[in-house]
Amino acid sequence: MKKASIVMMVGSLLLLGLYFFPLWNIMLGAPQYPEPLGMNIYIDGIKGFNEFDIQNIDGLNHYIGMKTLPKPEDMWEFSAFPKVIGGMVFLGVLIGFLGFMGKVNHKWFLGWLILMSVLGVLGMYDFNAWMTDYGTNLDPHAIMKLANPDGSPMSYKPPLIGKAKMLNFDVDSWPRAGAYMMFLGMLLTFVAYIMGKKSRNTKTS
């Protein structure tokens, strides 16, 4: 159980990567943009992949009436997410520490993982909802109004994950280092749960 608790603590601490590395990345490339435009999404705001990408993406998007990309102060998520992640790291380390001291059992590890998964899914849902709003809630005075073949207004929502074609742009939306560290961290807490479970079984048998 001691080993499992250490793994639990390490797993939780890996979430700290989200403070330093981007969670997600969206790149917009086209034959005319051999150096694609891109944005890195952090838990506390959006930054250009290259220094002036945000300004240049906004410049392109204004033709079709998209809102400018949000500054950290424009969205409650960018102040809430760091707190939620901080809370989860604290909770995970605390549970791990208590496990190490023998005060709690491995089921707490699973409990933390379930809570984290629920929060993660909610986060993804929120992210997707924001992208939907960003890509479809267009300025009625937009300079260009494009329609799909069926006459419905064209959506510019980037894919939550994967590739998509938007006008002449190839859009790539993928997790980045922060997300991978988070996934790895969550995986480790699951491993901690299994290890905890095994050590308990060997003890009882």
């Binding site: 002036f52 300004q55 410049g59 033709y63």
Partner: protein, 652 residues
């Protein structure tokens, strides 16, 4: 070993090209050899050239940038001439660049570009070029490709033996072609002899900022100083100048300056003179010359008049200057990469005369003089001669080197490039040019480290090469592959202006450091509007200052009222884009100046003096976006005595 490596690279390069050709189903017979020329110069869409070539514009006053081997022209850099395309020399910020002691001189004749060096190797920081007509030297940044500094040369005329640089860019030299009275005065022209002087100016270059300053002027006898070249490697510390008209004739020079069987190459030990000057030597004399510096932070040039210059009498520095007799009216003056050979091309002879630096030093040490001219020792021709290239061509002009022990000389009269071997003086190959070739250029070919892959011949006459365009044709350049034993003409292309000389450098040195934007947060222009809320209009007497910003696809503000006839309206316009290659333009109806092209993050100022009442439009001249055509605005101009308040709006 180095040469061997070059050869190997060239071999592999051509092997690749040939194998490419084979893949396309061409046979490897002689036919393929010819057809592979197309492949050698073809740069496919999306691919980039291997070398930058900077060609002087001659009477265009500018410098043009080409790619090699494609021969595609990338840019014209305005240097000594007003350039309405960008507003250079028209905008308030750049007008000071063309100030001289003669006032605003909006044109020059630009001849010889030279790229800065460190230890004799091209370092790609700056390129220098001379203004021949109203003597000036310009320094151009190879990061922004903009002219950053121009210094006028006093006591000089026909600034031709310029702008060549020493191997650590210690000095840029500005030698006068025409000797003139120093100081200038009213005197009979036929009293030229012994009264006129030839100033050879040594301009120091600040190693960090590149700022230029005339360190000293060597006051030489009144000959014509034609071309020059710094010593390299072992001869570093010396500078060599060809002379003609050692007869000091002042009329019908084609006859009267061709009487002496030998003119000179003047060998100047500049390190010796530098030491003399650093120890307080030389005479400060009154002078009046402009020093114009462009500040990248304020996007603005300032012109300062300098009032004195340090002159040096060569006789006061014993051992600093010698004359090397060289057959009749030598033109080009070139030093090979090892610094051993000084090549004087007698433009009226068939042969090339090659002097040996080692022999020159030995002759000086042995004091083997053959008389003197104005007190300057003349060395004995036979004592310093390294060899003679018996080429069979006529009118040799200029020589460049491939770094593999070969030299390439242009022959104007017989229109050809001749390849010969240093040391053995044997002719290896000759190829015709079309026609009347002047300078030639091998990238790095006048440095210690030539990139001997191509030679570009710069021809004076173009007729019959391209589709005719009336009596006037652009000049023709021809590209030869020099990786093999024999030269191969692989391409020709027209060049803008009259390219006299050119400088080439591998793209791998320049391209990665080429600047893409000016950072708005570094913009220190006193009239910049860094954010849209800083835009405004202010009146100071009859001056109206409009602080305007531009972004795809509008000006802020776009409607301005309260301007009156007789006002002097300054449009200070800041481009808010921070994206590579997104300039906007500005043009105002009836303006007595040019448009502006304003780069991302840059501020430029245009003056307009409205003469008629009305509502007058301005617009963006650079097709910047899908809504470029909408990028426009109006200025309302009221009568001089109207009392309409200044107002400005956008989106109302």
């Amino acid at each position: 070993m180095k040469n061997y490596k070059h050869y190997l690279v060239a071999l592999i390069g051509s092997a690749l090209l040939f194998s490419c050709g084979n893949q396309n189903g061409k046979s490897s017979s002689n036919g393929a050899l010819n057809s592979s020329n197309a492949e050698k110069v073809y740069v496919a869409p999306g691919e980039q050239d291997e070398f930058y070539a900077f060609m002087s514009g001659g009477y265009s006053g500018n410098l043009t940038v080409y790619g090699l081997p494609s021969g595609r022209m990338f840019k014209e850099i305005p240097v000594f001439s007003q350039f309405p395309t960008s507003g250079y020399g028209y905008s308030e910020e750049t007008k000071p660049m063309l100030e001289t002691s003669f006032g605003f001189v909006p044109w020059d004749d630009s001849h010889h570009p030279d790229i800065s060096q460190t230890e004799g190797v091209l370092d790609g920081r700056w390129i220098f070029i001379n203004g021949n007509n109203t003597p000036r030297i310009a320094r151009i940044s190879l990061t922004t490709f903009e002219t950053e500094e121009i210094i006028e040369i006093p006591n000089s005329a026909g600034n031709h033996s310029s702008s060549f640089i020493t191997e650590n860019t210690e000095y840029v030299v500005a030698g006068t072609r025409f000797s003139v009275p120093v100081p200038q005065r009213d005197m009979p022209i036929n009293e030229y002899k012994s009264n006129f002087k030839g100033a050879l100016s040594f301009i120091s270059v600040d190693p960090e900022h590149g700022h230029m300053d005339i360190k000293f002027q060597l006051m030489m006898p009144g000959f014509n100083y034609d071309l020059s070249h710094p010593g390299r490697d072992k001869s570093h510390g010396w500078f060599f100048f060809t002379t003609y008209n050692t007869e000091e004739a002042n009329s019908l020079l084609e006859v009267n300056a061709s009487q002496n069987d030998k003119d000179f190459i003047a060998a100047v030990n500049w390190k010796k003179i530098e030491e003399y000057v650093n120890n307080g030597g030389g005479t400060m004399m009154p002078a009046n010359y402009a020093h114009n510096v462009y500040d990248e932070a304020t996007h603005t040039a300032t012109s300062t008049m300098k009032k004195e210059v340090l002159t040096v009498d060569p006789l006061k520095v014993p051992g600093a200057v010698y004359f090397l007799p060289t057959p009749k009216s030598p033109h080009g003056c070139d030093v090979d990469p090892t610094g051993q050979y000084i090549i004087g091309n007698g433009k009226l002879s068939a042969d090339l005369t090659v002097h040996s630096f080692d022999k020159m030093i030995a002759a000086i040490e042995g004091k083997k003089f053959d008389g003197e001219a104005y007190g300057i020792p003349i060395l004995k021709f036979e004592d310093i001669l390294a060899g003679v290239v018996k080429s069979g061509g006529l009118g040799p002009l200029h020589t460049e080197f491939d770094g593999k022990g070969n030299a390439y000389t242009t022959f104007f009269i017989t229109s050809e490039v001749v390849k010969w071997k240093l040391g053995t003086w044997e002719v290896i190959d000759r190829k015709p040019t079309f026609y009347s070739v002047g300078h030639l250029m091998i990238p790095g070919g006048n440095s210690r480290k030539p990139f001997g892959k191509y030679v570009v011949a710069m021809n004076k006459i173009t007729k019959d090469r391209y589709l005719p365009t009336g009596p006037e044709l652009e000049h023709s350049a021809q590209l030869y592959d020099i990786t093999g034993e024999k030269m191969e003409l692989i391409y020709d292309f027209p060049t803008h202006g009259e390219p006299h000389y050119a400088a080439g450098i591998p793209a791998s040195i320049l391209a990665p450091k080429s600047q893409k934007i000016y950072r708005l947060d570094d913009n220190k222009h006193p009239y910049a509007a860094i954010t849209p809320d800083q835009t405004r209009v202010e009146r100071k007497g009859n001056e109206v200052h409009i602080y305007m910003s531009m972004i795809r696809s509008h000006f802020t503000p776009d409607n301005i009222e309260g301007v009156k006839v007789g006002d002097k309206v300054y449009f200070h316009i800041t481009n808010h884009e921070q994206d590579f290659d997104v300039p906007h333009g500005f043009a105002m109806i009836g303006q007595n100046t040019s448009e502006l092209l304003i780069m991302p993050g840059q501020t430029k100022t245009s003056v307009w003096e409205p003469k008629k009442v009305g509502v007058w439009p301005f617009y963006c001249t650079d097709f910047c976006s899908a809504l470029h055509q909408e990028m426009q605005g109006y200025v309302r101009v009221s009568p001089a005595d109207a009392n309409i308040e200044l107002t400005w709006t956008l989106g109302e």
